[in-house]
């Protein structure tokens, strides 16, 4: 009874006060309550993790693209424009919710809701480290593809329901492109599943931990499945309809494609889903082919031991923690007030706070004698750092492609997808079969 979920007494009391809902809660029984609570927790944590990325990825994209085009990118709201996207979202949220008069009201709302829901559902089985995984299901990879497989019909419905020729053509193109690149994407992913012998994402990452037998490299699937890696990366970016492949929303031809008639909050949702899709696809590349949270070389340990701090290192560690804590608080205040366009960035104040934190906590470190940092925590932090560094390298690659490459034509792109990518993906699967047979 005591191991159901955290704060169970509190939640039981809460439901007790709700009358009929409380009865339903009791009727669910222990397993049902656990199921519901873990579902809620899963949605909350996954949503938080992905939503934070949704604020970072577009900022990185705009900054990098700005640099590539000799601009400065967003620089006004927050420190170095970090909160620009939050401001944009807020602006879109308070705008008037316009539904075109001739639009199909049901389809117009249904499509947006469906796209958002299916993209959010796809976050559930994503592991960020060996431990931080919301739903460790046995068919996690296939589940993500199933959630994204709902996109083509929904995009088409969004285009049709807008009752505008640009939207409809955009819907047709979007649908055709998504279907054409879903197959190479899946076949390339199946090759990794074949080598790992499991469709569970954690298992796939753990299976890449062995030695390659060459230059102390780990056996990431990028080495045997180089073709699959590039196929997955390109198809993954193609699925998100970003600039080299943004045929469905080609501005010069179709205004904004499917997005033309969407305004306010609906537009913000479509925008978020696009970045969510990009981030999840790139994270999948990291998990399937680039070893997820595993380090690059075999001589770098995958798990860290307990770290005992004592004597002089104790003082310095505490000092750095204090400096980070104080300086971070000041930076957070800067970010917060920068959002309201009060330019209070004062380097002097930041320095004073940091140094005082350094001195204060350093003094505290002299008093504390012996201190152990658990190895599990360090491992967790190292794994998170690795996976996000890898993912943001790929994000940089995608942004680079967006800034540097011109748009392809729809007929060229579809024929590449069906007649080049799909055979290549099957060839890659054959390689995977041979490699799996050899080991």
């Amino acid at each position: 009874m005591s191991e159901r979920f955290p704060y169970e007494d509190l939640i039981d009391d809460l439901f007790e006060s709700l009358g009929p809902i409380g009865d339903f809660w009791k009727g669910l029984g222990n397993s049902g309550q656990f199921f519901l609570m873990s579902a809620l927790l899963m949605v909350g944590v996954a949503g938080l993790f992905i939503m934070i990325q949704q604020l970072i990825v577009p900022w990185v994209e705009r900054k990098v693209m700005g640099r590539m085009q000799s601009r400065r990118g967003p620089s006004y709201v927050g420190y170095a424009g970090t909160l620009q996207l939050l401001a944009d979202t807020l602006k879109l949220a308070v705008k008037q919710d316009i539904v075109p008069e001739d639009a199909d009201k049901f389809g117009f709302t249904f499509a947006i809701a469906g796209i958002t829901i299916s993209a959010s559902l796809a976050c559930a089985p994503l592991p960020f480290t060996g431990r931080i995984v919301m739903s460790d299901m046995s068919i996690g990879l296939l589940y993500i593809f199933a959630a994204f497989a709902l996109f083509p019909p929904l995009m088409f419905v969004a285009g049709w329901a807008s009752n505008s020729k640009y939207s409809l053509i955009g819907g047709f193109r979007s649908c055709a492109q998504l279907l054409a690149y879903e197959l190479p994407l899946m076949v390339a992913a199946v090759s990794a599943v074949l080598l790992a012998g499991s469709a569970n994402l954690t298992d796939i990452v753990e299976a890449q931990g062995g030695e390659l037998g060459f230059l102390w490299l780990r056996g990431w699937y990028i080495w045997p499945l180089m073709i699959g890696f590039w196929l997955f990366l390109i198809s993954g970016i193609a699925e998100t309809e970003r600039i080299p492949f943004d045929i469905p929303e080609a501005e010069a031809e179709l205004v904004m494609g499917v997005r033309t008639e969407f305004a306010g909050w609906r537009y913000a949702l479509i925008f978020f889903v696009e970045y969510m899709h990009l981030f999840i696809n790139l994270l999948l590349v990291v998990l399937l082919f680039m070893g997820g949270w595993l380090p690059f070389f075999t001589f770098m340990p995958a798990t860290l031991d307990d770290f005992v701090v004592s004597g002089i290192s104790n003082i310095f560690l505490m000092a750095f923690i204090g400096a980070g804590f104080f300086g971070g608080s000041v930076l957070a205040v800067y970010l917060l007030f920068g959002f309201f366009r009060k330019r209070i960035y004062n380097m002097k104040f930041f320095l004073i706070a940091t140094i005082s934190g350094f001195v204060l906590f350093g003094g505290l470190g002299m008093i504390i004698d012996d201190w152990t940092i658990p190895g599990e925590l360090l491992t967790e932090i190292a794994q998170l750092t690795r996976i996000f560094v890898k993912t943001y390298i790929l994000v940089f690659l995608a942004v680079w492609a967006r800034a540097a490459l011109p748009r392809v034509r729809i007929d060229q792109f579809l024929s590449i997808g069906w007649s080049k990518f799909l055979p290549l993906a099957i060839f890659n699967l054959l390689i995977a079969i041979i490699v799996a047979g050899a080991y």
Binding site: L142, Y143, P152, P153, F156, C175, A199
Partner: protein
């Protein structure tokens, strides 16, 4: 029979499936019928999930909701004209036939003593990671020729349907 969560969700999605299936018949616009079909297919996928088959759940979502409903959407937009209506023919007699059929099937279901014949069932494999692997192994061990035949059939369908759809355009050009 207690109302635990799996039964609750089964009843919920079962009722939703029936409502959406009715929606495909009632809907005035053909597009709305296709949207109802889309939702119907999703509820069926959820029923599969509640019946312990995660694998079929995924296949249903990918193949049916992602693939076949796109076909229907395209066909709807490409073949609809102003004359398209939700008119029905022979609805009285057909309704009677369907009702009698459902009644007969329900009587059959009702008359069988499920408790004694199917008493030894258990659904304890829920979420078992080995299920997926075991199912795939059984699939290729017991039905290898059928799987190969299905692959050939789907390839023939791909070629045949694209030829069929493109034939008239080639003649016109």
């Amino acid at each position: 029979m207690t109302l635990d969560y799996s039964l609750f969700f089964f009843l919920l999605f079962g009722c939703l499936a029936i409502i959406f299936a009715l929606g495909t018949i009632i809907a005035k616009k053909l597009m709305h019928a296709v949207l109802a079909l889309f939702l119907f297919l999703i509820s069926i996928a959820l029923l599969f999930l509640l019946l312990n088959n995660e694998y079929l759940f995924v296949i249903q979502l990918t193949l049916y909701c992602g693939g076949i409903s796109v076909l229907f959407l395209f066909a709807t937009v490409l073949t609809t004209n102003q004359h398209e209506t939700a008119d029905k023919t022979n609805s009285y007699w057909s309704g009677f036939i369907a009702f009698v059929f459902v009644l007969a099937l329900s009587l059959v279901v009702y008359s069988i003593d499920w408790a004694s014949d199917w008493a030894n069932y258990s659904l304890e494999k829920y979420g078992d990671p080995s299920l997926f692997r075991e199912f795939s192994e059984q699939l290729f061990r017991n039905y290898p020729y059928t799987v190969a035949f299905l692959g050939l059939l789907l390839l023939a369908t791909l070629i045949g349907s694209s030829k069929l759809a493109l034939k008239e355009e080639a003649e016109a050009a």
